[in-house]
């Protein structure tokens, strides 16, 4: 075994044993992970998972605020501004980091907006002369919000900060994908409001949770406008990117009709694709752009080409029954005229021989072959087991006389089928 084979062997060993290997994640690990996930979900504040813990956290925050407020009367004015927002600010900061690592996430702005709102409410609830302070709370939160691509804006926030302007949230089932891109939009928390969606490609809808399909590639800015019963507006936008799908197309070279030993050439006509996967229909695959392939057996094959774009969008095309058994056949001419210049040995090329000086079949898909030719007198004038050699019209160096000769063929096709054929051929006057 050579070094190289040993290395392949080593690679195979690791690949075969480990690539699909599954281990058991114990219940201990599962428990630890689920607790970690819960902590993370809590910090990210998800309305879908709103539960008793958020209420408890809010209550705890209020209690702390109350205690601080009463224990330090001198700092009355600073208390709400300095103390209350702190837990909120940490939460916002956490979310901001996450946003950087995952660009364009729609859940983040919901979080930020809601946090700001709840801080406002708390400030209002804290006792004693605090109602003129929420601006101080809002400012840092607002500053932290600047980087976030998707924003939800309460129109009336500036003039009436303490009453609830409607807040628009957009959640999209997918943000990016291949055309036709089906996106399910939802706007949690807008029940009872009037919603108007604009999908960025001219389409619009007033349904609460619309489904939309983008047929053309592009980057679309989706806008949701909500109007509450008092006519105030909230707006949110989000970007959806629809990627072009490649077009898979190919042709098969036809020059293999006679000579089945040739490789089949596949001519790739795909557009918009950077990667290809060919399935030749007999369990063999290729990732070349324009592969050529030699089938081991004649037969019918379904060839599929899948083309992938840069973004992983795929398109595939299948051509069915690429090679039928018509590739296996044998036919004989019924006349020929020998070369009078002397025996030629009977070599011929069935693709290029147009002289008709050698008697030979046109065939494909032959596995074994035995041709015998007899004169009318019953003399065997020619025998060949080689497809490459036909009868040149000579017998023992002498040209045979014109007339009718009889031939008999025994053989097999590659698909195992037996061939027994007989016929006659006229040796023309020369």
């Amino acid at each position: 075994m050579t070094e190289e084979e040993k290395d392949t062997d080593l690679g195979n060993l690791f690949r075969n044993k480990l690539e699909e290997n599954e281990m058991v994640a114990g219940s201990d690990l599962t428990g630890r992970f689920m607790r970690r996930l819960d902590r993370r979900e809590f910090l990210r504040f998800n309305p879908a998972r709103f539960n008793i813990w958020y209420l408890a956290a809010a209550a705890a925050g209020l209690t702390v605020a109350g205690i601080l407020f009463f224990t330090s009367p001198r700092n009355r004015a600073e208390v709400p501004g300095n103390q209350i927002p702190q837990p909120e600010m940490t939460a916002v900061a956490v979310n901001k980091d996450e946003t950087d690592s995952r660009q364009n996430d729609s859940t983040t702005p919901e979080v930020t907006e809601t946090k700001t709102a709840s801080a406002t409410v708390k400030a209002e609830a804290a006792p004693g002369g605090v109602t003129d302070r929420p601006g101080a709370i809002n400012t840092p939160a607002g500053a932290a919000e600047n980087d976030i691509t998707v924003k939800s804006i309460g129109q009336n926030a500036a003039s009436e900060p303490l009453t609830s302007a409607p807040t628009a949230f957009i959640k999209a089932s997918v943000r990016t994908g291949c055309v036709p891109l089906h996106v399910r939009f939802t706007s949690p928390g807008t029940e009872g409001f009037t919603t108007v969606w604009s999908f960025g490609d001219g389409g619009s809808s007033s349904v609460n949770n619309p489904d939309y399909i983008y047929d053309l590639p592009g980057i679309y800015e989706v806008t949701l406008t909500v109007t509450d019963t008092r006519g105030r507006l909230g707006r949110a936008t989000i970007k959806i990117e629809a990627w072009a799908r490649p077009k898979a197309s190919f042709e098969i070279s036809q020059n293999n009709q006679l000579n089945d030993d040739d490789k089949v050439l596949f001519i790739n006509l795909s557009s918009g694709a950077v990667q290809f996967l060919w399935n030749f229909g007999d369990g063999t695959f290729s990732t070349l752009s324009d592969p050529s392939y030699k089938y081991r057996q004649p037969g019918r094959y379904d060839v599929t080409l899948t083309a992938y774009s840069e973004n992983g969008c795929a398109d595939s095309l299948t051509i069915n029954d690429v090679f039928t058994d018509k590739a296996s056949f044998i036919r004989f001419p019924n006349a020929f005229m020998p070369n009078t210049g002397g025996p030629t040995g009977g070599y011929y090329n069935q693709l290029t021989d147009m002289d008709n000086q050698v008697f030979h079949p046109v065939a494909s898909g032959i596995a074994s072959y035995n041709l015998k030719i007899y004169s009318k007198a019953g003399l065997m004038v020619f025998e060949s087991s080689d497809m490459e050699i036909g009868w040149d019209g000579y017998y023992k160096g002498q040209i045979c006389s014109p007339g009718v000769y009889v031939w008999k063929l025994r053989g097999t096709y590659r698909n195992g089928q037996q061939i027994v054929m007989a016929g006659d051929v006229i040796l023309l006057n020369y």
């Binding site: 040993k6 062997d9 195979n12 480990l18 992970f33 089932s173 943000r175």
Partner: protein
């Protein structure tokens, strides 16, 4: 039994049940991936948890084309790479010292002879750099050029680390075979 699509939709909604099902169905497979990249089991478990957090919060980015399992694996491998970069600062490298010239035995490696645990163990014993390159090249199927970009190293470093990793693994497996030969 939930389909992958149901699980994905559920996880995007932060549905707890779907999150549990996703964990249940794929944690074993992905733990197997992490073990290849880790120094020991605790590190692999840590890596797995981080990978799953990434998976849950980035599911929206899975485009639906290509196999879901493949996507999960890719995220996990990326996590392992992040992990590698982070630990690079703390860990001392012993690349040169543990390079042994493998003596060449006559036969190849019988698959049935080694258990998956054996293979994990020899991988875990490699130094992090070797292990990373070997995994990415042999099992993940990346090219040296791509590996060099991912790890921020030179193409030639990737190639030489790969060939050294191979030599060491070969030596270790042959030693193990001898050892097993003695005891069985």
């Amino acid at each position: 039994m939930m389909s992958d699509q149901n699980i994905i939709d559920g996880c995007i909604r932060h549905d707890r049940k779907a999150q549990q099902v996703l964990w249940k169905q794929y944690s074993g497979y992905l733990l197997g991936v992490c073990l290849r990249y880790a120094t020991d089991r605790p590190e692999a478990e840590d890596m797995l948890q981080e990978a799953f957090l990434r998976i849950y919060f980035n599911l929206g980015e899975y485009s639906g084309t290509g196999s879901f399992k493949g996507w999960l694996r890719k995220v996990t491998v990326n996590t392992a790479i992040t992990y590698y970069h982070r630990n690079l600062r703390h860990k001392h490298h012993t690349d040169i010292d543990d390079y042994v010239n493998a003596e060449t035995g006559s036969r190849g490696f019988e698959e049935d002879f080694y258990t998956a645990e054996d293979l994990y163990r020899v991988l875990n014993e490699l130094s992090p750099g070797y292990r990373m390159v070997f995994n990415l090249y042999t099992i993940e199927g990346y090219k040296h050029q791509e590996i060099a970009e991912m790890l921020g190293i030179d193409v030639n470093t990737s190639k030489s680390q790969y060939s050294r990793a191979r030599a060491i693994l070969r030596k270790k497996l042959e030693d193990l075979a001898k050892l097993k030969g003695v005891y069985t």
